[in-house]
Symmetry: D2
């Protein structure tokens, strides 16, 4: 469905980096969800570049709800939020108009849209669009929380520096969800920021790996085959620009291990079914088992770097060099975090509404 | 869509491990594709357990085309193939009827289907269902080949043993597509098989990582957001039982590197646009760039092992021990390969038909 | 979705008139629905041609459940039923191989499938496929009845002869659902049958109008815009071969009237909300209001008639005459009834499962 | 898909009658379609109430393109247009806040949205939303025309007054597409307008029947079963508020006739295949046959009338009387026409893009 995601609760995103607005339409949302403006702003702020390690571009993200809300609650009819683009410097892009920025979608956009695409700032391919996903997620995250379902993410690794593992989910997720740079270990966080600054000083960029947890998902949600929870989440996650890998539970590590090491033994914890380990990331056979859903998302380094690169002019079809100007982040991993949380919220909400009916999130 | 995958060319799978038949319905297929019975059998044989490293269960896979074919060609109306299940030993499962096999979907099936699921051999969750996916892929792979599009996979790693990298795609893919145990390096292959035999001798199992290549995809196919080529392929791949990770191009490795190391510089190769490296796996901004599509799939070790494991009785909700009997593979990675190729063919065919119209594969 | 219908509970149909089997896959069905073999046979018998007013072709409709059922109940995984085609006389069609039968899909199939379609007996376009819809509906009708939801249809008019209106829904629907030729007024029924016999004697055919009622649908189901109850039901109904018109409530009659005559005034009947009239057919703004859903379906005369007709040879593209042979019904309206009931059951079940969750029909 | 329609080219609508904006997102549109502002305004004007026979409410419909257009052409990424609501008098509705207007969706909205719906002016159920559909259609109608495909509609009947039949499609469609009140016969037009004025003078309203033609559709488009052209068009048409009936070709009239009267004989007109009559409305077996697509749409009388009506208070659940105030049309049939044309354009464009690929409308 191209720019629409979801089966029962759907989100459609639109907009270009340098167009007047980006935004989303959310359909199939439970009526009566309180729209929490403080939280929406909080989430948009987490996504917004800020400080030394991010681009200097300022994006106030003054969103407007233009449909689907009444007296501060969702109506259940399509909820639309638009966010104006401001402070766009389109001229930065005119210099490099037909040069394909390596790692970007300029060339593939040309192949698909035959010259009609808006190339300024990557147009519809820009990470800017993820602000719409964040705003959409910000409608659902509080509603999920009301049902006990909590989502959170930390930077698991960046430039070879690794964060510690979770040890107390609820407390740590609460901490991460308020942190501008979400790392559990303070020392690792400091090192990561230094790594980013160092890359920035060289005109380079870094990527990273995010680890996300969804707590308290009811067991029995998802489908055996094509709508496995892994299928739906990965579908959503890979729609985020720069995501190049997704793994659930122990993921790629399981591939080099024995079954006896990674099967998750069940046991009764009072009247609750749990597993002793959680190498399957809370999902068996595509369906939630009631344990935390855990997955990792690989985010590639920002492709915009301040070094001379070889490329082509995609109109003239000749070799060229490109030196990207404009304002670009040396790292987006800390900002991508809230996008991952948001798209996860959308996917989880859709699964729940499909399983238990449209009024579930009330 | 639960058991249906695809937007324009769709495949719906059905069946249980110990039911009378499994099968699929393929809709939206281009009319006039030759049905190559030899090739279907070849592919089903590659998926079928055989030899020392696989289960002794014999599955002849005598498929029957029951709709959508006429005079040996696809008609364009729904193509249905059914494959009878034979040699099923349901009694093996009656002993462990309400015991949740660790790493399997017995418990999650109970949560979702409330006791009505067919638990024999995992029912609809069984890897057996992938025979339907293989048969479906076997309709499309020759049609894609007619258009120059070739798909192939090798075992990239297994139990810590790594295969060499591709060096000459076309030749190597041809080799792999006929190999029962698809490894490029003969020594690595031997080591891997020893590793599997060793695991089998201990009643244990191993997983692995598959690396897949799609050659000669036209540039400009895919969508910027939710239907990125990565989104669609990962959606399909994670529907395969036991898949726990998917990465495109350099994937998770990019997360620890600099942008300058992993951006793929464009250049002109005569009148063709190419990239010097292919860390993005042939996809920029969700859209194919004409380079080979490359991705890796992590397959967890077969959860059925012959060791005593802790678990629960999911009806009585009490702790239990389980010792799985029956016939089970110590490794499925070499058989999963053809499933990955097949689901890739389905995804790629759907993308092409959506982009260029229903007659594209003629 | 071509041959798949539904959003949450979906039915995929397949098969050709003279192929080995027709059938369906139903996905998203509530687990635990009892499979009522007597009822499935009863419904298939109502669809099957029989007696003086129908074709002499004998179709025993010996269906087989090949997936999705266990111990006599739906499992919740894809339910597949196949029905063998027997007694097909393909030779009847070889004589007229490239002649486009007027009113049939021979020519349009050629345009779409470029000569690869199975032309025998109309192939996938045959009314034969509706046996799959009837079998699918026969799974759901008893489950809906358990929830109090009853569906039934009478022949409202045929060849200018009109049936009386409903006066006591529950009793009349019970009567109709067992009647081979469903007409409320015995005299009208007799006249209609005479009309059919008369048409048959002239080598001609007749159509008719069906009126369908769905009792006890909960209020608040459906969507304001594109998934209005009218949109979904008409989508389903127009997929039945020969259906050329659908109207809800007073339908086309409302188009020539005053608002004051056709608005349905609300009133309280104890604690229940009702309307004094039901010109809107139980639907306001696309959403059920708790009154009976009422609609009419126009079925065109069987296009296969035993008169010489002008046509073309669609390969040679020259004018020709055609005289259709084989066995064909002078009327299908009484058989179409059970198809309409069945597709209505599928649509209604999908709406309910989407609104109230996958376990609703338990 | 609730507020999204289409398989490959999709339109998502949003907004409430008295909210800040209504609008749409169109996805999957061919890149490079010229955005014809004059035509968009022309179409919006045809939908806008004007003159003696329409409500006095003034809606300037100053739309804004906020995404998906660049240098005056569609980019191929989601095209979003928003239209501000102005001159809304919400106070008119506060008086009747919990009174269910007969024939409207107030009560069903309460059942579905549990009190969270925006009840002013019908909220999302308002005919106001159709302005978004008209703007969406206005993007596609010129592109279809470039391919030779022309859509047009006349008022076939209103209050018992009938228009003449088409005799020269191209010329008549050109005439109708510029007419404010689209009737072929001038005398019938005059009578219809008198009928509306008369109804208005009595505080009443009238409905009507629209007849629509789509010229020059290529043969071979559509699907045999659930995506028959009839299924898709009726799905779209019944999403328009007030539509209660749809018939194709001779429609309900065929139900009372003989097959020999209504089969459309094929013949060769030079090298073109045509039918002598067009009782099947250009569609055989769900697929276009190259003849004009013809259908009729029944529009019920505006439910808002200025007469006292019986109803209930849906909060208190007690009987009440209602006297609707505000500004309402005595007829919407002439305005509904452009909505029908627009939704037809969307449906036809989606069919074509699905059949021939995303670049088809270029």
């Amino acid at each position: 469905m191209k720019n629409t995601f979801g089966n029962n609760l759907t989100v459609t995103v639109f907009g270009e980096s340098h167009g007047p607005y980006i935004g989303f339409v959310m359909d199939g949302v439970t009526p009566g969800i309180k729209i929490d403006d403080e939280f929406i702003k909080h989430q948009l702020t987490l996504r917004r570049p800020s400080g030394a390690i991010s681009t200097k571009r300022v994006e106030p993200d003054e969103y407007v709800v233009i449909s689907g809300a009444f007296n501060g609650f969702t109506t259940g009819t399509p909820l639309t939020i638009i966010i104006p683009n401001t402070n766009t410097k389109s001229k930065d892009y005119d210099k490099t108009e037909f040069l394909a920025r390596p790692g970007h979608a300029d060339f593939t956009a040309e192949c698909k849209y035959h010259g009609f695409q808006d190339y300024h700032g990557g147009g519809h391919f820009s990470g800017r669009i993820t602000a719409a996903i964040v705003a959409a997620g910000a409608i659902l995250i509080p509603a999920l929380k009301e049902k006990g379902i909590i989502i959170g993410t930390h930077i698991k690794s960046l430039g070879g520096i690794k964060d510690i593992s979770f040890s107390a989910y609820e407390k740590e997720l609460a901490f991460l969800n308020d942190a501008e740079f979400p790392v559990l270990n303070e020392a690792a966080k400091f090192e990561m920021i230094e790594k980013i600054k160092d890359a920035a000083s060289k005109g380079d960029s870094v990527g990273g790996v995010l680890e996300t947890v969804v707590l308290n998902m009811p067991a029995g949600v998802g489908e055996p085959m094509f709508d496995s929870v892994e299928s739906l989440l990965s579908h959503a996650l890979f729609s985020i620009p720069a995501v190049k890998g997704v793994e659930f539970g122990a993921g790629f590590d399981m591939a080099d291990a024995y079954g006896s090491e990674f099967n998750d033994a069940f046991y009764m914890d009072g009247d609750k079914v749990r597993t002793k380990t959680n190498n399957n990331g809370g999902i068996n056979g595509g369906i939630t088992n009631g344990m935390p859903i855990i997955f990792k998302t690989a985010v590639k380094p920002t492709p915009s770097i301040y070094k001379k690169q070889d490329t082509i002019d995609y109109k003239a079809l000749v070799d060229k060099e490109i030196l990207i100007e404009g304002r670009h982040d040396p790292a987006i991993i800390h900002r991508a975090r809230v996008v991952v949380d948001s798209i996860t919220a959308i996917t989880v909400a859709d699964l729940l509404v499909g399983r238990f009916g449209t009024d579930y999130l009330k």
